[in-house]
Symmetry: C2
């Protein structure tokens, strides 16, 4: 049985999870990469380092973000977001880092989060602003 999630259920799933996957596309290449994130109800916040995904999202800021959860045998939920990449600097970067620190302090740090370091020159903070989201729950 497949059920569409409501907006509230999608929101809940995005708040619960700490690992999601970004899908981005540039120069004919599609790339999917896992990230640790925090969700504020409007955007997904990520602190990472310079690399392929950042280069691709700068080139094409229209991206996908996905989370899934396998709760029990035959029972899973997933959410798929279409969103816009926005790089955070200055006050926005500080706000993203604070949100991530708060998220990981209450249980997310067990998942291998990168410890955000505002003074690390390689650090790139960005958010994916949710434009639309769909979700599904499967139970068998």
């Amino acid at each position: 049985m497949i059920a569409e999630l409501t907006n509230a259920e999608i929101d809940e799933l995005l708040h619960e999870q700490v690992v999601g996957r970004i899908g981005c596309h540039a120069d004919g290449v599609t790339y999917v990469v896992p990230v640790i994130y925090a969700y504020d109800g409007e955007s997904v916040h990520v602190a990472t380092i310079e690399g392929q995904k950042v280069r691709m999202m700068r080139a094409n800021p229209s991206v996908c973000f996905e989370v899934d959860e396998y709760a029990a045998p035959g029972r899973w939920r997933s959410a798929i977001v279409q969103g816009t990449y926005e790089e955070a600097e200055g006050d926005e970067q500080a706000a993203s880092l604070a949100l991530l620190a708060e998220r990981f302090a209450r249980g997310g740090d067990g998942q291998g989060a990168r410890r955000p370091e505002a003074h690390d020159r390689q650090t790139v903070c960005f958010r994916i602003r949710v434009r639309e989201a769909t979700g599904r729950a499967v139970s068998r």
Copy 2:
């Protein structure tokens, strides 16, 4: 500490996992969707139903496939594949369904796999043929 996985380690991770995410792109939209799969050492095999991901991969067969695993706090591995979508019919479909059935019989069925039904008219079997793959292990 981030280490690149060897080809053998990537292969092992692809054999172990049963849930992966496909990234595809068509008509300006990037889409990431979780799937249950079986890996034969060369391709990822999936049985699904007609829908958005199948339409998009038919339009643009150059796709990405991703798996990740969070083994313990601060310790995770991931693999990212660039591959080609190929739809399976006839004998190829039967071979894919047999591989999936065998994979789920030895422990994957706890993950919510769709039971493949060769006579289900909506069923689409496809494989993603691996062109190149990279993998990373993070430990903190």
